[in-house]
Amino acid sequence: MPDRVLEVKNLSVDIPLAEGVLHAVDDLNIHVDKGETLCIVGESGCGKSLTSLAIMDLLPKKAIRKLHQLDLAGTSILDYSEKQMSDIRGNKMGMIFQEPMTSLNPAFTIGNQMVETLQRHRNISGENAKKTALIMLEKVGITAADQRLKQYPHQLSGGLRQRVMIAMTLLCEPELIIADEPTTALDVTIQAQILLLLKELQSEYEMGLILITHDLGVVARIATRVAVMYAGQIVEEGTVQQIFENPMHPYTRGLMRCIPVPGKTKPGEPLGSIPGMVPSLIGEFTGCRFADRCSHATDTCRSLNVNLRAEEENTQAYRCIIDPKTMAKVA
């Protein structure tokens, strides 16, 4: 087995509401190996962000996390206290958030916020911490880094702030980085730069990377493996080739039809869309969660809970009982 950076087994996140319990994430298993990029894709509200926060143990107070296994670099951190977790956060695993504009504290300089991270986890002098921060800023492609250290977040553009966030996350050279839609809030040109940067740094530091996104274009460029999430569950998981070349789950197929393919999609031809809406996840749910939006759904789909399974050793796992051959005909 290759070096496993992260192993998550049977993760559920429940949020008690006045109307009942919202099962936001349901029985989720993921793993990330060293140097590997796992992309978690899915539409808004499918539980991607909650999954990442659950791994970091940073869920909102009222959310209830259930887990059977949580290993980071071979060590179980499932029963870690809050204090032990805070020793790991920013040190062995780091997180990059969606909103670079608001993710840095406006009251402190970039240098201050970077140095405090290093000094929290390393026994290092302020002078040396500053030097390390400077090197890291240069590494993420920030020019005039020594001046940037003295600047405040509001003096930097969104793209620069996200680079600072990346540099800050990398300071302690973590084993795992979770990036929650790191490019969504940025200009398209900057998006590409940031992604490229993440990919370069990942291979340089041989980190495990979880990239959460709803942009399939991003997935195609950066992913090693892909997990497609729908309504709190992983509905399909496999390598990037498997998922893009031979999607098995109707939801994944629907997603693929939504992106234009150069040379294949004719000009003026309407892109695909998935009719209907995500079901409410409050209360107990029986049957396939995608059934109401699926053109192949049968009565069995609506009554049977299907597990994520692979047909053969080397194919992707998916959560559907429809024979792929009949699906291909209709689609």
Partner: protein
């Protein structure tokens, strides 16, 4: 920062100038100052003589600049009642008021900021409820009643503190509590709201994701941002305490500037009232100026544009 300071200073000076003009005009708004000075039994000739003597017959702007020049030099005219210099009179009363104001605002801040932070950390907890109860009480209790209750309890029954006067620091304990408690609810609620808001921001989540200790997250990252509006509020409250502590000063017989203001108003002692308004307004202006500087120091977005 320098530019900002100069700009604020310029603004403060303009406000001070406006206030001084209004305070000067006060003398003319109420009545003819010559008549007021001459007294009820004076003849027309006497009034005319006084008008000439004090220069009330000159154009108003000339009189204003003349008055302003003297006011800057520290001469605020003579009190009608005490027949002494107004500036000396105020200077004599000011230390008591200052002492009361400083101790009351310190008490208010020390009481309400930690309580507000504690309430924000656990909203709807016991601490939050207690804090809410205390702040509703503080807002609703009339200070005169609260003061009298304290006197009954601590002075009359328990004989712990003196009832009135300003001889020792013990005399200031009850006035400080009464005046400070009156200002505390607003500061407490603002601290709580600010902290609640800041604690839900993305940068607090980042701070946690970096593994920072809860104390650092709370006091470095959160409080620093939440305290900014509190500074402005506390400055206004402090200004109010220096000028408006009339009730408290009267009950505890602290002969401060607030008490003097009340006396002078009842006696129609216009020069004293005028001088006090000028001094109180200047306090406000200076405090606001320093609060602005403090805010700029706390919030780099104000300092560096």
């Amino acid at each position: 920062m320098l530019f900002y300071t100069l700009k604020r200073f310029g603004l403060a000076s303009l406000v001070a100038l406006t206030v001084s003009f209004i305070s000067f005009g006060l003398l003319y708004l109420s009545s003819d100052p010559a008549i007021a000075m001459a007294g009820e039994t004076a003849s027309d000739a006497d009034i005319e003589a006084i008008r000439k003597l004090y220069g009330f017959d000159r154009p108003i702007l000339v009189q204003y600049f003349d008055w302003l020049q003297r006011a800057i030099g520290g001469d605020l005219g003579k009190s009608y009642y005490f027949r002494t210099n107004v500036s000396a009179l105020i200077g004599e009363r000011l230390p008591t008021t200052m002492m009361l104001g400083v101790s009351a605002i310190t008490f208010a801040i020390l009481f309400s900021v930690p309580l507000g932070v504690a309430a924000a950390i656990r909203p709807n907890s016991i601490i939050d409820r207690v804090a809410l109860f205390l702040s509703v009480m503080g807002q609703a209790l009339p200070s005169f009643w609260f003061a009298l209750m304290l006197i009954v309890l601590l002075s009359v029954n328990m004989r712990l503190l003196p009832t009135s006067g300003s001889d020792t620091w013990l005399h200031f304990v009850m006035p400080t509590v009464v005046l400070g408690y009156y200002a505390a609810p607003a500061i407490m609620r603002l601290t709580r709201t600010g902290m609640l808001e800041v604690l839900s921001t993305d940068y607090i989540r980042t701070a946690r994701a970096k593994g920072l200790r809860p104390v650092v997250v709370l006091f470095k990252h959160a409080l620093r941002n939440a305290i900014i509006p509190v500074v402005s509020l506390a400055a206004v409250q402090f200004g109010f305490m220096l000028g408006g502590s009339i009730v408290v000063e009267t009950i505890f017989a602290l002969h401060g500037a607030g008490f003097l203001a009340w006396e002078s108003i009842t006696r129609n002692d216009l020069p004293t009232v005028q001088g006090l308004i000028l001094v109180f307004s200047l306090f406000y202006i200076v405090l606001t100026f320093f609060a602005d500087l403090l805010n700029a120091w706390l919030d780099p977005r104000i300092r560096i544009s």
